[in-house]
Symmetry: C2
Subunit: 357 residues, 2 copies
């Protein structure tokens, strides 16, 4: 409970400072101006120590002295005040909601992309991700495993539940993201790109046999899931293993969980640097003789992009990208079913855990 409250208090403190800065400028007879960390590509760099994308020192200045800045400045201040009221009223919102809500205040954005950009500016300014001021993405992931949590959301404060409760999985939303971890019998975390394999793992009792908490990301991991994965690693010390389809898109889904995305270089706590991507590798396609499909043009283009990405300069990323380049073929997690439905849990998972676990 304390941890969550502390964060909210920090965010509120930062929002208050923002307001005081503007009022202070005006009281001194100056035009209010703000310096916001620049999120432009030229200010994003890969940090080999942090093992993730970070922002440089570049700032953009928004001053009410410049007529051309006025609109953006006003919109930015409105978003900050909206964020403050969300926290104070213990309400949540989505990027889309913020866009529409602005119309209630006569603060018109031409398109949602405008308000989205300013919300990211606010993240950069405050140094906190938007989830900390209660703006959430709509996408959700699911979790299942032996972890007892305590809720901190209004109406549920202090209530506890064990995440083995519902064998279809529990949605990872605001309540789960902000929970406290009470107790766990798990020794590791398996993150899985696909619901179908998440289900398969539950059915094959992987959570028992490997004492694992299972998380399904349903494609690119939503930020709430990435945040939760990091917390499981940092707070509970559980090693994290990531399973994706055997293609460049799967590799990148794992990469974003490990290193973070360029899009969120301005926020921390969304990546898990020592999480391990353990399959499906390009080399697994050969090793396990998996049914596979040839790369299409999009795959080839994406492969070339990822080969230039500094996040993927080390193995296994590098060697597997080169292997994909050679093979020009891809396989899905479901492809293991060619050896029977339990093969992926009985053989493949065991092989990987012998290697890494």
């Amino acid at each position: 409970m304390t941890r969550v409250l502390d964060r909210k208090r920090s965010v509120l403190g930062r929002l208050r400072s923002l307001g005081e800065k503007i009022i202070g400028d005006m009281e001194r007879g100056e035009h209010p101006r703000l310096e916001i960390p620049s999120r432009s590509v030229s200010n994003i760099r890969y940090d080999p120590v942090e093992k993730g994308y970070v922002l440089g020192d570049g700032k953009k200045v928004r001053s009410t002295a410049a007529y051309s800045h006025l609109r953006r400045f006003t919109q930015f201040v409105w978003i900050a005040s909206f964020a403050k009221s969300l926290i104070e009223e213990q309400r949540t919102s989505t990027l889309r909601d913020v866009y529409y809500s602005s119309q209630a205040y006569g603060v018109d954005f031409e398109e949602q992309v405008e308000s989205d950009e300013l919300i990211m500016d606010l993240e950069a300014y405050l140094g906190f991700p938007r989830e900390d001021f209660n703006i959430f993405p709509a996408e959700r992931a699911a979790i299942f495993g032996d972890l007892t949590i305590e809720y901190t959301v209004p109406g549920y404060e202090g209530r506890r539940v064990n995440l083995l409760t519902h064998p279809d999985g529990l949605m990872i939303g605001h309540s789960l993201k902000t929970c406290e971890f009470v107790d766990t019998g798990a020794e590791r975390v398996f993150v899985i790109e696909k619901d179908a394999i998440f289900n398969r793992f539950i059915e094959e009792r992987v959570y028992e046999r490997y004492k694992a908490i299972l998380i399904s990301t349903s494609g690119q991991a939503p930020r709430a899931a990435r945040y939760l994965i990091r917390r499981l690693r940092v707070e509970l010390g559980l090693p994290v293993y990531i399973f994706t389809d055997g293609d460049v898109w799967g590799l990148h889904i794992a990469g974003v969980i490990v290193y973070g995305s360029a899009n969120s270089a301005h926020v921390r706590e969304l990546h898990t640097p020592d999480a391990k991507w353990i399959g499906i590798w390009a080399s697994d396609i050969e090793k396990y003789r998996l049914p596979s499909d040839p790369f299409n043009e999009r795959d080839v283009k994406r492969l070339e992009e990822l080969l230039r990405d500094p996040r993927y300069s080390e193995d296994p990323w590098r060697s597997e990208l080169l292997k994909f380049k050679k093979l020009r073929r891809k396989s899905e997690l479901e492809a293991f079913s060619r050896y029977g439905l339990s093969y992926i849990a009985d053989v493949y998972l065991k092989d990987k855990m012998d290697l890494y676990g």
Copy 2:
């Protein structure tokens, strides 16, 4: 428990008859042949009494006497035997898994669409949807509300949980679909197209204020959700209300929940004829002066298709389609946020319940 076991027993009985039919043909020295209800468009009709699509009496014959039928016949029998083993081993599978699993048996399908088609043939032959022989779609929906259930899945038999347990919602998968309803304090069901509004309704305590079970379909309702919605209506007698975006796609999402889809005309129990689509209507866009966007070409094309669809020949479908045609504009559920985040629950929902509830 009994209900679920009874269904499995019926499906197993039908599968056994299928095997005995083939063996019987052979013992009589005849070429095995099967008659499978035809799912072709010419055999699908709208039944005004059932208020849904149903199959006519057309059959297609698959005979091993015809060389051209042999491949399909063999594949069909393999799928039936795979279904039988899934039920007997209490395992589940997906359409994609079945496609890959076939390769373990040397039964090669050229593409997944081939095995998908035969799985639908098996549904038509058995008169049971594929969920009853443990083949599930990957998509999932979520539920939240005052409903106590008892699981029937292996490892969880007899365990009970109340669906208010986890305020991010519980995934609707195999376990939830096959549960028994034990007790509920709810008086209605709200089905919502979008996770964001599902969350909003939870946050605004709609489940308490309206004594409602909330279901999020995340777009087109997965079959497990449609099956569960029907069960809530039939077994618990709860009225069902559907909220979608105010566009032709949303209208059709509601339509499929109410009337079923042409694709699943050969299976019953997936539609809820007296569920009410109560918004966002085209007329609501005007009435509530919602922020809206103009129709694009796809919207216009879809509108014309739906105007010719017999399911939508009655009001409010018909009148709202015509209204969309006149307006040529669409609004999202989030658009209500222009009046503040709680407006959709405090005003819109109340208006609709005064009208229908």
